[in-house]
Symmetry: C2
Subunit: 334 residues, 2 copies
């Protein structure tokens, strides 16, 4: 069973893998590119755990699960960071705190086509991926042990992807992760001061100034944030206040798919298919529909190395002003 | 002038470079290894800004600055992230906050020998490096604009080092960086609850349990932390309460040099000269000599990629339990 351990100084939780432990010689050179069959390709369904959700648009109600014919497929990660079974068993260990690594770790294969990139998918296919996120999130919200579902995508090996076949991941956690609780806390503080949602204020200012705006449609804006950690960091926000991603309508999924495809395509053109991480930020389970928090997507191209200064300070040195990045991305015709 | 900008949600500051801006094509493939003369080698002193501090042990008081003969040399970074000149000029920009990128960015060249590693230096040479840190920190503490001095070392290109010649860096900041203020806050909270320093409690528990202990001498312990972000993350802590690094005595520098050399050598043997970041954590300027904070060193080998899950959550997945890493490091004979 993996273990969750809490740093006694700042309260950060880490997941310590207790099975499949990596020993020093396991950290040598980078793994060879994987050869042979891709476990995410059609026909290899037997290589993955049984599916939790799939889209098989052409098929009738008798369509067979775990067989080819799907457009999208979600299943538990074969090597999960956290396990679904068991109790949390919170316990002390002298001054330290630990609990069992209970949670869920799932994979969402976004297309049957191995060599497509996310930005090559049609808007309808991307909307299908968003629907899968919503379905899995709603399903996991019924498990009282879980406090948050983190949905993310690593594209490219330099951004941490271990398989090329386009896929997203989902990790459901028994505690609200630190990055999210700090965002919630900061947004609550801003609300108390101003009685306005800080994200709504960001949307208003970006739409007015337009220097960091990359794209907009009827429901979403794509912009570079004012204080980006990384060059070409790009955010997608709903234009009007929306606290929870999983309450998004199908109509808005179509517009979000459009915004995501435009953002991913522009980044691909600008930066020549960069490795990137895509992260969905939304309100934790059990916090209702707050006025102060606004779900959004952050896309972070992996162009820079994070080094001692960033680790030690939490400061980031960004050599590309967001206004320049936004201008560059705006001017790309797609 | 570089600019400091504050994230309006969580309050994180970033440094936005406004000169030498990187454009999309600058992020292509990794830079070629640098050829030609190393600007940190003896005889190339003219390639760096004039020195701020140096050790020239054999020389008399008439020794020439910025000429060969040194054992250690500190000077401003030629391409600084922050500038020493100017006022902060704090200002609003709609809902956002900015100030000028005032601060200092210095380089400490640890040895004249280009091909040595930090762990190859003698304990006396390492104690000299520590003395240089203390000298620069004390000098910068007199500048009222500065709130914190971050001292760090990136070893190996995968850990962000752009030059091979052994060196540390120092960045002095006009705000207390987020990672440090969170540590201070967490340590203060622990003090209020227990009336004990959390770091002193860590030292006590690690010395008692010994499962995460790697090495100890009369003044320092080397241990793996209970909840490490990364495999083989290694901390060095003073055995007794010490709030400020710059108050360390020369006698303790000798023992710290011993602990650092042992830790770096064991990590080199275990992980075959891994890239790593070394970070000094100490009490910010102007916070006196607090009972609740305890300076320490964190060494983080760069063995894993940080990907979407870590960026989005602040959770880390560590595949090597610290007890196994400590056992491995303890058993290395050096």
């Amino acid at each position: 069973m993996p273990e969750l351990r809490k740093d006694p100084i700042v309260g950060r939780w880490v997941i310590i893998a207790t099975e499949r432990t990596k020993r020093p010689h396991d950290f040598g050179s980078r793994p060879e590119p994987r050869r042979g069959l891709c476990p995410f390709c059609p026909g290899q369904e037997g290589m993955t755990p049984p599916e939790l959700y799939a889209l098989r648009p052409g098929d009738g109600p008798g369509a067979r699960a775990n067989a080819p014919g799907w457009r999208l497929r979600a299943f538990p990660n074969k090597f999960p960071a956290l396990r679904v079974e068991g109790e949390l068993d919170k316990a002390g260990d002298g001054i330290y705190d630990r609990m069992n690594g209970v949670g869920a770790h799932e994979v969402i294969v976004e297309t049957p086509e191995h060599n497509k990139r996310f930005s090559d998918l049609s808007e309808a296919d991307i909307a299908g991926v968003l629907g899968a996120y919503r379905h899995r999130m709603q399903d996991l919200s019924r498990d009282g042990r879980l406090k948050y579902v983190m949905i993310f995508k690593n594209h490219g090996s330099a951004a941490g992807a271990s398989l090329d076949h386009p896929h997203s991941q989902l990790i459901a956690l028994p505690v609200v992760p630190r990055v999210v609780s700090e965002e919630m806390k900061g947004a609550r503080k801003y609300w108390r001061l101003k009685e306005r949602c800080v994200f709504c204020d960001i949307v208003r200012q970006e739409l007015k100034e337009r220097v960091r705006l990359v794209y907009e449609n009827a429901s979403f804006i794509v912009c570079e944030p004012y204080a980006p950690k990384f060059p070409f960091e790009t955010w997608i926000l709903p234009r009007v206040h929306r606290a929870r991603f999983e309450h998004t309508s199908n109509e808005d999924f179509t517009l979000l798919a459009n915004a995501l495809k435009v953002a991913a395509t522009k980044l691909n053109v600008a930066l020549d298919d960069p490795p990137y991480n895509f992260i969905l930020h939304t309100t934790p389970f059990g916090e209702g529909d707050p006025d102060h928090y606004h779900w959004h997507v952050e896309i972070m191209p992996s162009l820079m190395q994070v080094a001692g200064f960033e680790w030690g300070s939490g400061f980031y040195i960004n050599p590309t002003p967001p206004e320049e990045a936004a201008k560059f991305l705006r001017e790309i015709d797609i």
